[in-house]
């Protein structure tokens, strides 16, 4: 019975997300993967909102009432889909068979087998180990633990406010102002189980990992790239050691933010290439979704804007202009923005601005020396050098993606070199985790650059033959 409730608790909200996204994505190559990837994420982001809305309306808490409502919603959405079959078609899915070449097929099977093994390793670790990492027990699961016991979203306030209120009707922890998507999921699964289980409450992390993989595969296939190439890059993405660690030692919100921001960037790229309105909607939905996961999500959301600007004016000069503009804008904000105004939980006054020697080597160590990202950043270095040197025409193709990622990198560098968070780079306590938010986008950029190089070479070879 317990497993049935747990399965329902995961399945029904995720099906809601899948149903919503299925309505959005029309017939397109790899539609199934896109719907699965973005749908799971939609379920992960929207279900906590729905639960909170449910509570605000004063409706009965617990497991069955919200679940019953979700089932009704699901039926309604399904009915709506049937009623409007013109917008939702079965989908001209990309061929799912493995590539024809023997070596390529063997390679794909090998990589998929390795990925399955990885998923199994992470899943077993997740379901056996009780909540382990530091912040998970400092300000994420604390809320879930209280909400589960109280069967309601009692407010969490800052330490001083808690003291002023004598703790009446309020609770406190180290970060009461963080977005609550992650703890609401933990609360929901504990409610489904009917007990506090410090391991199984983390199952959404596994869903998030799958969502990232499926969406990446879908978006990469949607570009028309060969399957073997897509599977190789999927393997790169899903085997990043720090990403894997955030699944195995679930409890932090960084994996959710990495997935949300990454999926936004992928949709931005493909939207800018193909001009499909539904890709823009996916990009926008995910960009806004960043706000629901962590405070940093606000800044990542902003970095989508230069990408959108470049998407409308696609040439190399505009890409460079956008990047330079962001650098200038960030410098101006740091210089002119009122120090006392807090944005997304931080004010400039509290950041103690000033260059920190040692931070840059900490960042380089995190990116290139430690094992966080295997060789992804070495690959990026080489591909960037090759593209600039040999094929600069590739740059405008990936212009929006490059502009957004560059904006994010500028913010990332500022955070770890000129604010008090530099200590997170020097001691390696935060630079890896924040870097994780950018990595799905970086791996997608690697994929795009590699694909563009290949396509240009094929075109040159064809024109050479004609000549």
């Amino acid at each position: 019975m317990e497993w049935l409730r747990l399965t329902l608790a995961l399945l029904v909200p995720l099906l809601l997300g899948l149903q919503l996204v299925a309505r959005l994505v029309p017939a397109t190559p790899a539609r199934g993967w896109l719907v699965a990837g973005y749908g799971l994420l939609a379920g992960l982001l929207l279900w906590p909102l729905l639960l909170r809305l449910w509570a605000v309306c004063g409706l009965p808490p617990g497991f069955w009432p919200p679940l019953g409502f979700a089932v009704l919603l699901l039926v309604a959405l399904r009915w709506w889909s049937f009623a409007q079959t013109t917008t939702v078609m079965p989908g001209a899915a990309a061929p799912t068979a493995l590539p024809a070449g023997r070596v390529a097929r063997l390679l794909c099977i090998l990589l998929l087998a390795l990925l399955s093994l990885r998923l199994l390793s992470l899943a077993l670790e997740l379901i056996w180990r009780p909540l382990f990492p530091w912040d998970a027990t400092m300000h994420w699961a604390t809320k879930a633990r209280v909400w589960f016991e109280w069967q309601g979203f009692v407010p969490f306030v800052a330490n001083d406010e808690w003291l002023s209120l004598v703790g009446e009707g309020v609770f406190t922890d180290h970060h009461p102002d963080y977005p609550v998507t992650v703890p609401v999921w933990q609360y929901w699964l504990a409610t489904a189980l009917g007990r506090w289980d410090p391991a199984l409450i983390n199952l959404p992390w596994l869903v998030c990992y799958c969502s990232l993989g499926m969406a990446f595969y879908g978006q990469a296939r949607a570009t028309g790239a060969p399957q073997v190439e897509v599977i190789v890059f999927l393997f790169f993405l899903l085997t990043l050691p720090l990403l894997n660690t955030h699944v195995a030692l679930a409890g932090y919100a960084d994996l959710f933010l990495a997935t949300t921001f990454g999926l936004s960037l992928m949709a931005l790229h493909n939207g800018s290439r193909g001009g499909q309105p539904w890709q823009w909607r996916l990009a926008l939905f995910c960009a806004l979704g960043c706000l629901l996961v962590k405070n940093e999500g606000f800044f990542w959301m902003l970095t989508i804007l230069p990408g959108l600007w470049v998407a409308r004016r696609r040439d190399a000069r505009n890409v460079l202009l956008a990047i330079a503009g962001i650098a200038v804008a960030v410098a101006l904000v740091l210089w002119l923005f009122p120090a006392e105004i807090a944005v997304a939980g931080h004010s400039l006054g509290s950041l103690d601005l000033g260059y920190r020697p040692g931070a840059l080597s900490g960042i380089l160590r995190s990116l290139l020396v430690l094992g966080n990202w295997h060789m992804a950043l070495w690959y990026l270095l080489l591909l960037t050098a090759l593209v600039i040197w040999r094929r600069p025409v590739v740059l405008p193709v990936a212009g929006p993606l490059i502009a957004s990622l560059s904006a994010a990198c500028i913010l990332f560098l500022c955070l770890f070199t000129v604010t008090e968070y530099a200590v997170g780079a020097i001691r390696q306590t935060a630079v890896g985790r924040i870097g994780l938010h950018l990595m799905p986008g970086v791996v997608f950029l690697l994929f795009v650059l590699q694909s563009q190089l290949r396509q240009l070479e094929s075109r040159s070879a064809t024109s050479g033959l004609r000549g």
Partner: protein, 362 residues
């Protein structure tokens, strides 16, 4: 020289430049001698048996080389060991955490770096071998020898470090180190990265982007397979520890067992609900934070980075205080008072276990 050869040269020059740049980032055993001095002492005697104390620690003094070297030990009973390290005598004021090598130790082989230069050179130089593991376990040395730190030793040390098993640590969530021992000064990521870039440029010149992808995949697999192996070993360790145990009892099998057990006892004593205010005082971030977590859903107050307890006027009769050592809060049993900074509270000790106590404010 053809165009291809010129590209090859250029790519290797670039790779060397990158390697040189990154070598400044890599910590190294700067004092390491490349060759073993003629008067290098022998390692600990084979057959020596060390018994770990009730707290799971054993130490053994031995003569050691004046410069940095590697002590290679083969031991029986290595399964009982969690960590081992060498300390120069007299010991430095700080703990040499860089030199600490954590188990489990494969095939009973332990490679221990000896950092620093001895104050007294030659035969007078001494150090201490420290072993930590299961209380009262016995470990027997089968063979030992000192090895000079050569490029080959470094490479072999990196391999041993890279392919060895390491359990999850709290830092694992922040960064993943393929290797953790500083003495060999090498990183597989840098070695493979430099190799990838240098051969990649040459290969691109010859075979274009197709080569890059397959070359990258090969390098990636070289890094990823040890990582997968480590994950599998970790899963096995996790299964041995937690599988089959009810979820609610699993925290009792972790390193926090004492904090969890104490919190469970507190929760069984105090009425549930938001009305029970409980203040957690500790100067240890970790101890305070974890105790607070285990005490939820009681109405817990724990402040990170601030005073351990708020002003005395903020507490009232009926509140509870949990003091987790180390802490600046002192208890005067005769007076029945808790003191912190210049404040005091009249309290009643409800119970104490190990280094934790629960008090009720009167």
């Amino acid at each position: 020289m053809g165009e291809y050869s010129r590209a090859l040269c250029r790519s290797h020059l670039a790779a060397l430049w990158i390697a040189a740049l990154l070598s400044g980032i890599q910590p190294a055993l700067a004092e390491a001698a490349a060759t073993l001095p003629a008067d290098a002492p022998a390692g600990p005697e084979p057959g020596l048996t060390l018994k770990l104390s009730g707290r799971g620690v054993a130490a053994h003094g031995l003569p050691c080389p004046a410069s940095g070297q590697i002590l290679r030990l083969r031991v029986e009973g290595a399964g009982a060991l969690e960590a081992a390290w060498l300390e120069r005598l007299p010991t430095a004021a700080f703990r040499q955490t860089d030199a600490r090598v954590t188990g489990p130790f494969r095939n009973g082989v332990i490679l221990l770096p000896l950092s620093g230069v001895a104050a007294a050179a030659g035969p007078d130089s001494r150090c201490r071998l420290v072993l930590r593991g299961l209380p009262a376990a016995e470990v027997t040395l089968v063979a030992s020898d000192w090895q000079a730190v050569t490029p080959l030793t470094r490479l072999s040390g990196m391999w041993y470090d890279w392919t060895g098993f390491r359990p999850w640590r709290h830092a694992s969530i922040n960064s993943h180190s393929a290797v953790v021992q500083a003495w060999h000064g090498l990183s597989p990521n840098v070695l493979l990265g430099v190799l990838f870039v240098s051969v990649g440029i040459a290969g691109y010149w010859r075979w274009r982007s197709r080569f890059l992808l397959w070359w990258m995949l090969a390098g990636w697999l070289a890094l990823d397979l040890p990582w997968q192996w480590r994950l599998l070993e970790q899963v096995e360790a996790t299964r041995d520890r937690f599988a089959g145990v009810p979820a609610a009892d699993r925290p009792g099998l972790t390193d926090d067992a004492d904090l969890w057990a104490f919190a469970e006892r507190v929760k069984s004593l105090l009425p549930a609900g938001g009305a029970t205010r409980i203040f957690v005082a500790s100067s240890s971030d970790y101890g305070g934070m974890r105790t607070a977590y285990y005490l939820y859903p009681l109405n817990v107050y724990w402040r990170r980075g601030g005073p351990e307890l708020p002003a005395s006027s903020r507490l009232r009769a009926g509140d509870h205080i949990v003091v987790v050592q180390p802490s600046q809060v002192r208890f005067l049993p005769q007076a029945g008072r808790l003191l912190f900074a210049d404040q005091g509270w009249s309290v009643r000790l409800l119970f104490a276990a190990d280094d934790i106590g629960l008090f009720e404010v009167r």
